[in-house]
Subunit: 154 residues, 3 copies
């Protein structure tokens, strides 16, 4: 059986967590759009001040940063700094043919840590909570990358 | 036949669109370089004001943001918020063994939507056009991620 | 033998360089944390000014940009603009079943160019050195993406 197949339960666990992370990341883009519409601002391109169906009464203040929009952008940036490396490390880790239970803990643990990180960030929890949740996900990526490296060097 | 193989026409369609998207993304970096050379500015690091072969007459103003450079940076940031998730969702979707015609529509549709998004953004078209093209690509990613999730959960 | 397997020496070379790049990227996040603790600032979220175990004496100046932190953020941003495209182009290139020696030169050459780029950037070397190292990595990505595209179109 090929390892990169939905028939491999380790891969299925990776696919579930990776697909949820993709949807989570895309949701950040949509949330940015929703927030920009709510605050009617937080835009970044000069042409966004032209009168259009979506922006019938333009105002130069719409190009100023708005914290409610910037918060989502920071959350999204944090995703960009994490998810592509989870995807790569996770796929390599699947190919090391790891024990199912451990792989499920790592993949689902990562996904849960990122969803909780989002909840903590969007609700403005103190830095220490956010940092702890971020650390869990970061260490999972490091573990999987090191396992793949050891496997490849052997 | 393995699904992740150039012999699988679904994978070949994914590979074509993914390779074009890689080249598109790398082109944004090169376009940033070209624009920085054209405007002789838009730099970001203090050491870029040292006198070198590429910058024979440094000037502190070279560190100020320049809209012609910043526009490319925004386009590139939009790629970073999209392409890694297309790569992951697309690869998972290939492994669901989808119908060829549908897969081709999704993969090529995504690539075309991103190339048109670039054309609209760099030429400063109104936000509504840019947003529509972005939405097409975003929905394609969501569809493929949901299909992969459903497939993995079954 | 499947091409995406640690038994394939081309894939093993890709896995080694990709795993090292994942660890390099994650290290940038940790380095940002270390620098923020060293300068006791460079934070970005308003809630980071609340009194906590990790920040016992908050000060509004902690939200100002600090060049020692911003430098790491720029290095990390450069990774985000490069590594996901190396991962995708590299994986596609493995599937073209390339000659082992060439593949090793490309994969290891990429990893070395990125590590040297980091060394040049963090030590504030002139732009020309940084640009040369960046160009090596960028051209390797372009070469692999073009090879994959040609292979898929044949």
């Amino acid at each position: 059986m090929p390892l990169l197949s939905f028939d491999n339960p380790v891969f299925a666990a990776f696919a579930i967590s990776a697909a949820i992370m993709v949807l989570k990341a895309v949701a950040m883009s949509w949330l940015t759009v929703v927030r920009m519409m709510q605050v009617n601002g937080g835009f970044r391109s000069p042409e966004d001040l032209r009168r259009t169906l979506l922006n019938p009464t333009p105002d130069p203040k719409q190009l100023l940063p708005d914290e409610r929009v910037e918060r989502i952008r920071r959350i999204q940036q944090n995703d960009l700094e994490n998810l592509p490396f989870f995807f790569m490390a996770g796929a390599l880790y699947v190919l090391t043919d790891p024990p199912l239970a451990l792989a499920q803990w790592l993949f689902y643990g990562y996904a849960v840590s990122r969803l909780l990180h989002f909840a903590a960030y969007i609700s403005g929890q103190i830095h220490d909570i956010r940092a702890t949740l971020w650390t869990v996900g970061s260490l999972i990526i490091v573990f999987m990358a090191v396992m793949a490296l050891v496997h490849a060097l052997n």
